[in-house]
């Protein structure tokens, strides 16, 4: 997450500061850091036995646990998790970021990675569904319909992110549903105050109380504990998010990478995922 944000920041900073012949010394240092940001950890990963895992933002908590477990089982290898919106991770890999494992929040983004030959043989390892996270301060929001009330502040994710895509699918289903209809969706869309780049940012807007409600994964709402309230989205209006992971084609450390994939798929790995509200992978379509 941090990496991508820094990269974006650097791009913008560099852009603007190109014109300041008199840019401050600290900005020059930032500029110099740019080449490193485009190809992170390329050399260090192979040399020191690091396992670099790029994983969807929603996976940050269970993957930190899985990484700790992996380090315990494989002494000498250091787990390095980098979490961001799946679409941002994909863009990083495309521009040459070296990683060992890629875990996506959607099959679509994984397929794109396969087509571009960035990964090998993806395996589904979990599913998730959507729900609405509500700020504890927003007493006036207790049902899905309330999101359409005037003055309610709603946050969603950008359309290019997996969670953003799922959110728009759910909204389409709500619009088509007899109990809700297009007017509810129109009201919800008018209440959208910001589009975030990943689900954790949606969640933090809600848990900080700046927004009243946001569309997130159920796992996020579950692991946020009492910082948010949860409104269920009925099954027929919900979508199933399927999570695949794969070893990267140019993995500096392919063997530990394969071991990590095994760990995630093992009973132990699945138990960790379950703890954070993820569901088992569905049957093959």
């Amino acid at each position: 997450m941090k990496l991508t944000r820094d990269f974006a920041l650097l791009t913008v900073a560099l852009l603007t500061f190109s014109f300041f012949g008199c840019a401050r010394p600290n900005k020059t240092v930032m500029g110099e850091a740019k080449p490193a940001a485009t190809a992170p950890k390329a050399d260090t990963a192979a040399a020191t036995g690091d396992l670099t895992v790029l994983a969807a933002a929603s996976l940050s908590k269970p993957f930190d646990d899985l990484g700790a477990e992996f380090e315990k089982q494989n002494p000498g290898i250091k787990y390095k998790g980098s979490y961001a919106g799946t679409q941002e991770l994909l863009a990083q890999m495309e521009s040459g970021a070296k990683a060992d494992v890629f875990a996506s929040a959607s099959e679509e983004h994984m397929s794109a990675a396969v087509v571009k030959k960035l990964v090998r043989e993806p395996k589904a390892f979990a599913t998730n569904s959507l729900c609405i996270a509500v700020s504890p301060h927003a007493a006036n929001v207790t049902s899905l319909k309330d999101l359409a009330k005037p003055g309610v502040k709603v946050v969603v994710a950008v359309e290019k992110s997996p969670i953003g895509k799922y959110t728009r699918k759910v909204l389409d289903k709500i619009a088509a549903d007899k109990g809700f209809g297009p007017d509810v969706v129109k009201g919800i869309k008018a209440n959208v105050k910001s589009e975030e780049t990943d689900v954790k940012l949606v969640l933090s807007r809600v848990s900080l109380g700046e927004a009243d409600a946001g569309f997130v994964y159920k796992s996020d709402a579950v692991s946020a504990g009492d910082k948010v309230r949860l409104i269920e989205i009925p099954g027929e209006l919900n979508v199933t998010a399927s999570y695949p992971l794969a070893v990267c084609a140019t993995a500096p450390n392919p063997d530990p990478a394969a071991k990590f994939v095994e760990l995630v798929l093992s009973q132990q790995g699945q138990d960790i995922l379950r703890k954070y509200g993820f569901q088992p992978p569905g049957p093959k379509k």
């Binding site: 974006a8 920041l9 791009t11 913008v12 603007t16 502040k153 959208v192 780049t197």
Partner: protein, 254 residues
């Protein structure tokens, strides 16, 4: 020897810019510049950054004068405070603004009680830009004022002019070049502002999505779309910068 250093610096700055320009097709840039989404972002960037520059100049000028002319206990701390936003990562600035002016923030709570919330508005964009850009104006203006010979000001006062009249007729005109460079620095920093804006103001088309945020949003899809937008902003900013410099050079020559 001098030329060597200058060339190293020029190459360091120019190479990324050239690399970016080489990676986009001019037709794409032209098409992007005409799309309604980009126009909205550019317009918002222009409006907010101009407001920011105006606000920073209005409020920053007395502050710069104060810092340049008055000595008091704890001035060192106040100096550091003025410079603080320059050293702070803008994202941290955005979080700090949320803590102060957010709906649950220190002051934001009271404002919320009156039925108004600052985050997610264009005002929040201006505040984020001002937080980050104001020190650039103040430092430049202050340096200019400090360079004004004190005996000229004293002569003016001896001849019966008030402090305000002395400032307007002596101090400000003499430090004019420093003020203009402060204004340009401030505007440039404001139009490029990203981190504080996205944290404090959010990212919504037409309201808070300035060009840098539009670039980030485009980057979610494909790098090329983001590059095209970056080039649009680059060309725009470059034109504004060049015309400002030319205008000022002409004025200085008179």
């Amino acid at each position: 020897m001098l030329i060597l250093f200058v060339s190293i610096f020029a190459a360091f700055i120019m190479l990324p810019v050239v690399a970016m320009l080489l990676n986009v097709r001019s037709a794409d840039v032209w098409r992007a510049a005409q799309s309604s989404e980009v126009r909205e972002a550019l317009l918002l960037s222009v409006k907010t950054s101009l407001t920011t520059t105006l606000l920073c100049s209005l409020i920053g000028t007395p502050v710069a004068y104060f810092l340049a002319r008055y000595r008091f206990k704890g001035k060192g701390v106040f100096d550091a405070l003025v410079e603080l936003p320059m050293t702070l990562p803008p994202i941290v600035g955005g979080v700090a603004l949320l803590m102060a002016f957010g709906r649950r923030g220190l002051l934001g709570q009271a404002i919320h009680a009156y039925g108004y919330d600052i985050p997610f508005t264009s005002l929040a964009v201006v505040m984020a830009q001002s937080f980050v850009a104001a020190p650039f104006f103040i430092q430049a203006a202050r340096a200019g004022l400090e360079a004004v010979p004190r005996n000229l000001e004293e002569a003016s006062r001896t001849l019966g002019a008030s402090e305000l009249r002395t400032i307007l007729r002596i101090s400000l005109p003499l430090s004019w070049p420093a003020f203009t460079s402060g204004v340009i620095l401030c505007w440039g920093r404001a139009i490029g502002e990203f981190g504080a804006t996205i944290m404090f103001a959010g990212n919504l088309r037409g309201t808070t999505r300035t060009m840098p945020l539009a670039i980030l949003t485009a980057m979610q899809g494909e790098l090329n779309a983001a590059l095209v937008l970056s080039v649009v902003l680059l060309i725009f900013s470059f034109c504004v910068f060049m015309s400002a410099r030319l205008l000022l050079a002409r004025r200085a020559a008179r």
